[in-house]
């Protein structure tokens, strides 16, 4: 019995550690500006006001940015899965020369701070005429998400026993059919997890989106650079506005997050 009590206490402690900062941001975003200037800052919802949230949402380009971010996020997920899942399958199933170096190279593109590539990247997109479109941002985000996608999806496919696929081919199914009917159902939840990581990465990415767009920015590109100079209250409002869609997305997808390696037991 004591073990269960300890277990619950531990769970509550961790939940408090994770949840309290989020509660504080939400609190600050809905507190009036004068109350934020006092000390001690109120720790409970004593002075609720929606003025900063309303002011923030009235900023130019917030709705446009939201729509752009949504478009870019969904398109990035689709493109990343189309490019990354097959590659992950190949890495999981086939041993070819360059197996490890391919993965290492992909990871290393992620390891280089993208800021030093700012000017050349912008020039690439100017040259191909995609500057200031959501297509450009989608392409960049796909490139940023691909290494993680390949890494994790290869681990997903490793978790699907090879024997099942081979058994299906023994019974007369073509390799493609074996893939669709045997591997995909088991891997799908894990692939959905890759989709979640990719969407979150794209939604929160700011530097690349800022360099590649001018008048059609994503939400972070539009808002974050100016947020840091704005008064404290707006920083909270902006922070909350950026966090909320991600919270909704995770609530929707959280079942799939449990299935990177195979079906739920």
């Amino acid at each position: 019995m004591r073990n269960r009590v300890g277990l619950h206490l531990a769970c509550l402690a961790v939940t408090a550690f994770v949840g309290v900062p989020i509660y504080l941001v939400a609190l600050a975003a809905f507190t009036s500006r004068t109350a934020l200037n006092e000390f001690p800052v109120p720790l409970g919802p004593t002075d609720v006001s929606t003025e900063t949230m309303r002011g923030f949402l009235a900023t130019t380009g917030v709705t446009g940015g939201f729509l752009n971010s949504l478009m870019v996020g969904l398109a990035t997920v689709v493109l990343t899965l189309v490019l990354g899942a097959p590659a992950g399958y190949a890495v999981a199933r086939y041993a070819f020369r360059g197996h490890d170096s391919y993965q290492l190279l992909l990871l290393l593109t992620r390891a280089l701070p993208i800021v030093v590539l700012s000017v050349p990247l912008a020039r690439v997109f100017l040259r191909i005429g995609l500057y200031d479109t959501t297509y450009a941002v989608t392409l960049l985000h796909t490139a940023l998400a691909l290494p993680t996608a390949v890494l994790i999806s290869s681990a997903v496919f490793v978790g699907v026993p090879r024997e099942q696929e081979e058994a299906a081919t023994v019974f007369g199914a073509t390799p493609a059919k074996a893939f669709l009917r045997i591997v995909v159902p088991q891997a799908l939840p894990g692939i959905a997890a890759v989709a979640v990581f990719t969407f979150v990465l794209s939604w929160n990415e700011v530097l690349g989106a800022t360099i590649l767009t001018l008048n059609q920015r994503t939400l972070p590109a539009q808002v974050l650079t100016t947020l840091s100079d704005s008064p404290l209250a707006y920083r909270f409002a902006g922070g909350l506005a950026l966090v909320l869609p991600a919270l909704v997305f995770i609530a929707v997808m959280r079942r799939y997050l449990l299935n990177i390696w195979g079906t739920l037991r």
């Binding site: 277990l7 619950h8 769970c11 961790v14 939940t15 550690f17 994770v18 949840g19 989020i22 504080l24 600050a28 001690p40 800052v41 720790l43 490019l83 590659a87 190949a90 999981a92 086939y94 041993a95 070819f96 391919y102 290492l104 990871l107 290393l108 593109t109 390891a111 280089l112 701070p113 800021v115 030093v116 700012s118 000017v119 050349p120 690439v124 960049l140 490139a143 691909l146 993680t148 390949v150 890494l151 290869s154 490793v158 978790g159 090879r162 390799p175 894990g190 990581f197 929160n204 404290l232 922070g239 950026l242 991600a246 995770i250 609530a251 959280r254 449990l258 990177i260 390696w261 037991r265």
Partner: protein
């Protein structure tokens, strides 16, 4: 009985003769080439030229090829503290995160009530960008922030947690904030890895009298190796890259390598030195990735 999840290395044995694979697909290029090609081509088309230009900047001086930027980088008073702080941060934060993530996954494995709710809350920081996380923790640690307010309610004097005069509390604050922000990634990977592990071995071990810690060490952790490897590589590379939280909390009082890259590129308008520092980060990531791959290779499997 379900087979164990395999690391990519193990599959090679199951394949037998690698050259048998192309024959199955018939004549022409091997299957893996078709599967890899789109992603490889895509990355090359997008990044090849910018990478060449970007990295080339590190070695370009006013008169062509020169190592002047590297020398400048090394002579900068902020560089070596940045290296030290980055290394310190990784060495402290990454093990703590893994311990915390493992603990969290083990807690959930016991299936307490409201496990679904706990899982949701514990995964939320995954979706929060590092800028937003920096903002959140700044509002907690700043001189007139929530932490000092809470202390004031209890009658205790506030403390300047983020002041440059208190380097250790500054470092601790960054560690706590980074723990909060980035543990979810490791947590999710560990939980998923644990799900693929059958309880049979665990139960068998306890029947034979193994205690909790022994079961943890000899039964659970080895089976988690593939997940841990993936998580470790990902987390280290990302840890070398993120500095938004540290910058939000400490400004330039605690320089970090990536922060210095940004500083040289944007404020000091010197892309050459910025690229040089970026190359240092790249080299460190390479070392770490290779190190982990070697260290965590499955030595028990016959090769």
């Amino acid at each position: 009985m379900r087979t164990l999840p395999r690391a990519p290395g193990e599959n090679r044995r199951a394949l037998g003769d690698p050259s048998a694979t192309p024959a199955r697909r018939g004549a022409g290029r091997p299957a893996w080439l078709w599967l890899i090609a789109p992603s490889a081509l895509f990355m090359t088309a997008l990044f090849a030229w910018p990478l060449l230009v970007g990295i080339g900047q590190a070695f370009t001086g006013p008169d062509g090829f020169s190592a002047a930027n590297l020398r400048r980088m090394v002579d900068d008073p902020y560089f070596w503290p940045a290296v030290r702080n980055t290394a310190l941060l990784i060495v402290v934060v990454v093990p703590l995160q893994f311990a915390l993530a493992l603990a969290m996954a083990l807690l959930l494995r016991e299936r307490p009530r409201f496990a679904g709710f706990y899982f949701y809350v514990w995964v939320i920081p995954l979706a929060i960008s590092d800028l937003a996380a920096g903002l959140v923790w700044l509002s907690i640690f700043t001189d007139r922030g929530y932490l000092n307010s809470a202390l004031a309610h209890l009658g205790i004097d506030g403390y300047a947690w983020l002041s440059y005069q208190h380097p250790w509390s500054m470092f601790a604050a960054v560690v706590v904030a980074e723990l909060w922000r980035a543990t979810s990634l490791v947590f999710v990977i560990v939980v998923a890895g644990m799900q693929g592990i059958p309880r049979d071995y665990d139960e068998a071990a306890s029947v034979f009298g193994a205690g909790y810690w022994q079961r943890l060490r000899y039964v659970l952790l080895p089976q988690l190796r593939p997940s841990l490897q993936v998580a470790l590589i990902l987390r280290t590379i990302l840890a070398l890259e993120t500095f938004a939280v540290a910058q939000a909390l400490t400004g330039r009082s605690m320089p970090l390598l990536v922060g210095e890259t940004y500083q040289w590129y944007t404020v000091l308008q010197n892309p050459g030195v910025a690229s040089a520092i970026a190359l240092v980060i790249l080299a460190l990531s390479l070392l770490a990735a290779i190190g982990y791959l070697r260290l965590l290779r499955d030595r028990t499997a016959p090769r």
